[in-house]
Amino acid sequence: MIEVEGVTKSFTVRRRTGRFRWSRTRVRAVDGVSFRVEPGEFVGYLGPNGAGKSTTIKMLTGILSPSSGTVRVCGLDPSRQRTALARRLGVVFGQRTTLWWDLPLRDSLTLVRHLYRVEAAAFRSRLAELSALLELEPFLDTPVRQLSLGQRMRGDLAAALLHDPRLLVLDEPTIGLDVVSKATVRAFLERLNTERGTTVLLTTHDLGDIERLCRRVMIVDRGRLAYDGGLAGLRDAVGADRQLVVDLARPAPPIALPGVQAVRVDGPRQWLRLPREANAAAVVAAVAERFEVVDIALRETDIEELVTRLYGRARDDRAAGR
């Protein structure tokens, strides 16, 4: 569905260095990225601001042409066959709407229908289906400018899917949405992927999106892929530890067992770092044998922490020249 091979995109940045002097520097926004996405996949594309996420999306959708490397999407070259690709592709930008502010949603969707040359009958059935799934009916006749962010995003999703594309690309689709709207959008995307088989690629800062939806994560940092794989593999890749939170009956000196150490002590509560291969049950038994334990909890390092560590590691690698 998507094949990216050694893609680089560099921009010339002009910086003022004196009254009349400018210095030009080439900045690599995307630096030798390669990956493939197979039909039916649900892939999350993750990275800090300025990591090259949006630039990658723009190259996949044909907005930008790559400086070097090859991109194939739906079997087409996006930079050369942009309009042909547009017919097979749905794109949603969370930060800006593709709808028209002054028109009611229904008219906006009619414009989209003409842009994609969707037949009238197909349009009616598709609109009925999408408006049932996304609950558009209550605001179909409201001008887009009066819609809430969540309603607008649902409208944008409908607009991107009217022509029934095989691939849906979303750039931060849940940004700024409240909890309920996020849940609606996520449930819809999940259904689209599992029931209709639509391939989905989304960029996000919201790790909830990733945990809830994506079977595969690609993490990009400073223009390079730092990780590509499943969510479970991410923990192994970063070498994530687990933590054992122990509530003792009374404060005690930091616990130290073979291979296990307290990393934080707060009164009677202690946090123990557990290596990935450690046997949690044996450690719990050992602690209970030595101390009077009130409560105990095992915690996985959360994804936010994983990603932060991964960004840091990619940076260290770069600094070390690896």
């Binding site: 907005i63 842009l115 040359r117």
Partner: protein, 275 residues
């Protein structure tokens, strides 16, 4: 369909019409407001004509031209400009779309962004601009003391159509400049609105060198001056060859070709720099 296919190329016309129609239908939900807006625009557009009438209240001829002759020039120029403005006037918003990032949303759709920008807000207000030109061209030609040979009659639609193409080319050409200078919408207006003002008056009103400059620098003279000399059977104040009077369609082509090329080049630049 290429990136820069201007309306008038194959599929573009159909999509353009469908999009414009959808905008008009949306506006038609408020019929009174629609009608008033169209009329107000028509009245404002007709103010130039009032100025011409006022001048002729004091003189029977201006620079050797009678009132119907000047009105004929006004009518053809206004109509050409209005049609081009209705079709492509919003192209000057390109810079704003680049700044807001909305050009990106147009690029992921299977229709030329030029058509998408041009049909945006296609409102009945725009159609009001057509009224003064149509009215003048319906009323004035019978009052001209012209010898209406079939050739002269045929020249009128050719003249208007070439004018439309010339103004349309200028709109696209100057809008394309915004790919390089995104604050350039002022330049667009100076050339197009300025040009429309100029061609409403006979060439002899302006200084000789100025007219010559205009003829060759910006081929606005071909919008209607040269062909109108043929219709009105007048000598050329510059003494240019008679063939120039029939050159409008050719000039239109010569202008539209680089306009389309400039648009394509600008778009290619945008897609490689992203700004």
């Amino acid at each position: 369909m290429g990136d820069g296919a201007p309306p008038g190329h194959g599929l573009g016309v159909r999509v353009y019409a469908l999009l414009a129609w959808t905008w008009l239908r949306a506006a038609a939900q408020y019929p009174v407001s629609m009608l008033l807006l169209a009329l107000a625009t028509a009245v404002v557009s007709a103010l130039d004509m009032v100025a011409i009438m006022l001048m002729f209240a004091h003189a029977t001829r201006i620079a050797g031209y009678t009132a119907p002759e000047v009105l004929f020039l006004y009518g053809t120029s206004t109509l050409s400009f209005a049609v081009a403005d209705v079709l492509l006037g919003t192209a000057e918003r390109l810079g704003r779309h680049i700044r807001m990032g909305t050009l990106d949303t147009m690029l992921v759709r299977p229709v030329s962004p030029l058509i998408q920008i041009a049909t945006e807000d296609f409102s009945p207000r725009r159609l009001g601009k057509l009224l003064p030109g149509i009215a003048v061209l319906a009323l004035v030609p019978p009052r001209l003391e012209a010898d209406w040979t079939p050739g002269r009659v045929a020249m009128v639609p050719v003249l208007v159509a070439s004018g439309v193409a010339i103004f349309a080319g200028l709109w696209v050409l100057t809008a394309s400049v915004q790919f390089w200078l995104i604050e350039g919408h002022g330049a667009t207006k100076a050339v197009t609105y300025g040009g429309a003002f100029l061609t409403q008056y006979p060439p002899t009103v302006f200084a000789r060198d100025f007219v010559r400059g205009v003829t060759f620098a910006v081929p606005l003279a071909f919008v209607n001056w040269q062909p109108a000399l043929y219709v009105l059977d007048r000598p050329d104040p510059l003494g240019l060859p008679a063939a120039f009077r029939f050159a409008s369609p050719l000039v239109a082509l010569l202008l539209c070709a680089p306009a389309a090329a400039a648009w394509r080049t600008g778009l290619r630049r945008y897609r490689s720099t992203g700004s």
